[in-house]
């Protein structure tokens, strides 16, 4: 049986179980016959443990009973979690809707790369079109989508549907749901949670010769071997590790992260250096936002300088590295460690989609699932000696088009309710998606479902990940700082403070012009340029 057949059979089995057509015993027998893994069986059993709904739902209870609805989901192209959101809609929700709600629904996936998704959505929504009924947006776009009234505010819908009154991870609630920041206005529901993780070539790190060499050069300190060891690694120790593995003559680099000017790549990987060392990027609320004097702080300038230092341990061309370049670099064996979004765990490990854990997608590549460990990225030592890590939050919320007619809105809400059923969330997780529902992350099996889940759970909790602005002026603010940060990283400007001052002045001006703050850029800004 091919992995695709296995995946299809597993999905069919899950559907039957959720629809109540199989007893628990029958389901287990079929799961064993299919050779499903233990985590997959555990996921299957949750259909019985926590979902009496499927068996109890009376058929054809929906006002849409008998109708056929075509739904379109706009998501991020080439981004596996977005794809999963549509795959599960077709594979699981479609039969569920037919059997328990009494209507037919078809889903299509419209996609666009990260940096063009908003443009694609906005040009359609501006025309008050319901071309995309559900939009998987990047979290920072919430304000830009909400402000013109293009997406639905969900407070009332959540109040009317107890199934949507879910306890999410706090970082997910703040990042994917709320606009303006600090308010109680809900505009999105978490589709995929995401945090930065560190991918480590365990085959190199466990090599005795490497360990001995590192010990000899670092006063007897060993290379970290376990997740717990990595928890104790701060950025200074990590720099030594990166330096140890930097061997250009062997085609090996110590580490890599995103330094590309495209979209938010630099920002997401520079912010951790700022956040974790006490830097801030904005202060105040709507009407009193202050960036000048906040972003351009010495702490942030030092953080930029530290971040830039890691270019010395990166492969050639690192200032153009974005998400796909990091996958290529790491899986082709050019980096000993690599910072990357945890959502790409399977891709970074070269793991075959839908196959048993450990099976390589491309066996010809030097990196295979068994020689990769996924851990928390380095911490930053504080003045009191404690360790702190605050990294950028990734991930995307579901948002619902405000121009949907009643039928499409009903299907969107039904799908959201289905999405957050525990068994759906576990199935999403089993296929590699990162859930944000607290109960799912607390599930005893959760950590073992995917190799990257432990790091993901560790990073999304206890304030270790945070998002940045959700302001409607996001695009301009982002473009300005990407340009300035890129200018510093590539040596176009030598002083990090110049890049920060330029960014702060420009962003203050953008917010002032957009009537988001009453604080004007200072006179000093007239003399600042890149």
């Amino acid at each position: 049986m091919t992995s695709q057949d296995l995946s299809t059979s597993h999905a069919a089995l899950l559907r039957d179980a959720m629809a109540g057509r199989l007893s628990r015993r029958q389901a287990l027998q079929r799961a064993v016959a299919l050779g499903l893994s233990a985590p997959a069986m555990a996921g299957l059993m949750t259909a019985y443990r926590s979902s009496p709904v499927a068996a109890q739902d009376a058929p054809a209870t929906s006002p849409l009973a008998g109708k056929t609805i075509d739904m379109s989901i706009l998501g991020i192209g080439g981004w596996p979690p977005s794809r999963l959101g549509v795959d599960l809609a077709t594979e699981l929700f479609k039969p569920y809707a037919k059997e328990t709600l009494g209507y037919d629904v078809n889903f299509t996936f419209e996609e666009s790369p990260f940096d063009q998704l908003f443009q694609k959505a906005a040009t359609s929504l501006q025309a008050e079109s319901a071309q995309y009924n559900i939009i998987i947006s990047d979290s920072q776009w919430l304000g830009a989508l909400a402000e013109p009234g293009w997406i639905l505010q969900l407070n009332d819908i959540i109040a009317e549907n107890p199934e949507l009154q879910i306890e999410f991870e706090p970082a997910a609630r703040e990042g994917y749901q709320i606009f303006p920041d600090g308010s109680d206005q809900v505009w999105g529901l978490p589709q995929e949670g995401d945090t930065i993780a560190l991918f480590v070539r365990q085959d190199l790190f466990s090599d005795q010769a490497e360990r001995d060499a590192f010990k000899a050069a670092n006063g007897g300190t060993d290379l970290p071997q376990t997740f717990e060891d990595w928890e104790q690694i701060d950025i200074v120790a990590f720099e030594k590790i990166a330096a140890h593995f930097t061997r250009p003559e062997q085609g090996l680099a110590g580490t890599a992260m995103q330094w590309s000017k495209v979209y938010d790549y630099i920002s997401c990987y520079l912010y951790p250096f700022m956040f974790s060392t006490g830097g801030e990027i904005i202060e105040g609320d709507v009407g009193s936002y202050k960036i000048e004097g906040v972003l351009d702080s010495q702490v942030n300038a030092d953080a930029m300088a530290l971040n830039k230092r890691f270019l010395d341990y990166a492969p050639n061309g690192a200032t153009n590295f974005g998400i796909p370049e990091l996958v290529d670099q790491f899986t082709t064996g050019t980096c000993a460690t690599c910072f990357q979004w945890s959502a790409l765990g399977p891709q970074m490990m070269n793991q075959k989609a839908g196959a048993a854990a450990g099976e390589a997608d491309d066996p010809s590549k030097p990196v295979t699932p068994e020689n990769v460990m996924i851990v928390a990225p380095p911490a930053f030592k504080q003045a009191d000696g404690s360790l702190k890590r605050v990294y950028a939050l990734g991930g995307q919320p579901w948002t619902i088009n405000a121009f949907n007619d009643a039928d499409h809105l009903q299907v969107a809400v039904d799908y959201m309710k289905f999405w957050y059923r525990p068994e759906t969330q576990l199935e999403f997780a089993r296929r590699g998606g990162n859930p944000s529902v607290k109960a799912t992350l607390d599930d005893p099996e959760f950590d073992t479902l995917q190799p990257h889940f432990r790091a993901f759970k560790y990073m999304i909790r206890e304030g270790r990940s945070r998002d940045f602005w959700h302001d409607p002026n996001y695009a301009e603010m982002l473009a300005t700082q990407q340009e300035a940060f890129s200018a510093y990283l590539t040596g176009t400007v030598e002083d990090p403070m110049q890049a920060l001052k330029y960014t702060a002045c420009e962003q203050q001006g953008i917010l002032f012009d957009g009537e988001r703050t009453e604080i004007e850029p200072s006179e000093a800004c007239n003399d600042v340029s890149l």
Binding site: Q119, T123, L145, N316, P472, N473, E476, T492, G514
Partner: protein, 323 residues
């Protein structure tokens, strides 16, 4: 036509009054001096709907503060958007960078195009000439999106083919698109590679317009090749060549796709050209007022280039006629 006219003039036996009326109407239309203008109506409608109206709309929006993603209504701000452009050092730098890009790209493509054009013109009997020309024209017909993507990979520091040879020849690799000193010229080089064939084509067209008799006379008189170029080829071919340069200048000025795909305007803003700024302002920031005013300025610059070229062409043409 005479036969057809005779046929139409002959009364049609048994024709209904309605048919006779139709025939009279078409004949009147045919005789009318407005008929040629009437034939132009469809294209005029097309031109007005797709060119004039959007242009007027663009000019109108340029006087507004209008952000698509804002809940605020567009507000009339007069010349404020234009004033911001003229006060912005960033925009002037971008315009300066764009002009440098344009001069380098068009200049190099013209020099190479003319040289290669002359080479092919002078080697009519070269074996495989047609195949060589076809291959040479290939870059011009490739979509810029493909060219940008290919060259991002070709320049790639780790596995790119250019760096492979750089390693072999000078013993080191270059981060062509990430290095602040190289990225701009690397982008210019791609534009030159892509558009030199166009200038070859224009050169061959220009050379083709030279009367054979004059060339043969020069041959008989054993005129040196440089003088042949100056006194025979250039006077005949320069108009076509100038047209090519004009088209390339306008095209290079609005280059957007190559830097967008290859460097996204980076590193820093080293390859940020005016087209890319325009795209970002309009379709990333959705600041339609600002984008429209910048587009108007860009349009005026393009019109200025065109006017200068047309003036030069017309002036020289007039001088030639006077002779």
């Amino acid at each position: 036509m005479a036969q057809l006219g005779t046929h139409l003039d002959r009364p049609i036996v048994g024709a209904t009054p309605a048919a006779r009326g139709r025939r009279a109407w078409t004949r009147a239309l045919d005789d009318s001096r407005f008929f040629p203008s009437l034939l132009l109506v469809p294209i005029l409608i097309f031109f007005v709907v797709w060119n004039v109206v959007p242009l007027l709309w663009l000019v109108g929006v340029s006087f507004y503060r209008y952000k698509v993603t804002s809940s605020r209504e567009p507000s009339f701000v007069g010349w404020e958007n234009f004033a911001e452009i003229f006060q912005s050092t960033e925009i002037w730098r971008t315009l300066g960078r764009t002009l440098t890009f344009m001069l380098l790209s068009v200049g190099l493509a013209t020099i190479l195009g003319v040289l290669l054009g002359l080479l092919f013109w002078g080697s009519q009997r070269m074996p495989g000439r047609r195949l060589a020309l076809t291959l040479l024209f290939t870059p011009m017909v490739l979509p810029p999106v493909a060219v940008g993507t290919f060259f991002r990979l070709i320049y790639e520091p780790n596995f790119g083919v250019v760096n492979y040879y750089a390693q072999q020849i000078v013993g080191r690799r270059f981060d062509f698109l990430g290095d602040k000193d190289l990225a701009f010229f690397a982008t210019v080089a791609v534009d030159v590679w892509m558009w030199t064939p166009f200038m070859i084509l224009m050169t061959l067209a220009a050379l083709g317009s030279v009367p054979k008799a004059e060339l043969e006379a020069a041959e008989v008189d054993r005129l040196p090749w440089l003088q042949r170029l100056r006194y025979i080829v250039l006077p005949h071919g320069k108009f076509i060549l100038m047209l090519g340069i004009l088209l390339r200048t306008i095209d290079a000025f609005k280059t957007t796709d190559l830097p967008y795909l290859m460097t996204n305007g980076g590193p820093g803003n080293q390859t940020e050209l005016v087209g890319l700024s325009l795209y970002r302002t309009g379709f990333e920031a959705f600041q339609m007022g600002d984008a429209s005013s910048l587009a108007v300025v860009t349009l005026l610059v393009a019109i200025a280039f065109t006017s200068v070229y047309l003036y030069v062409l017309n002036y020289r043409a007039a001088r030639v006629e006077m002779r």
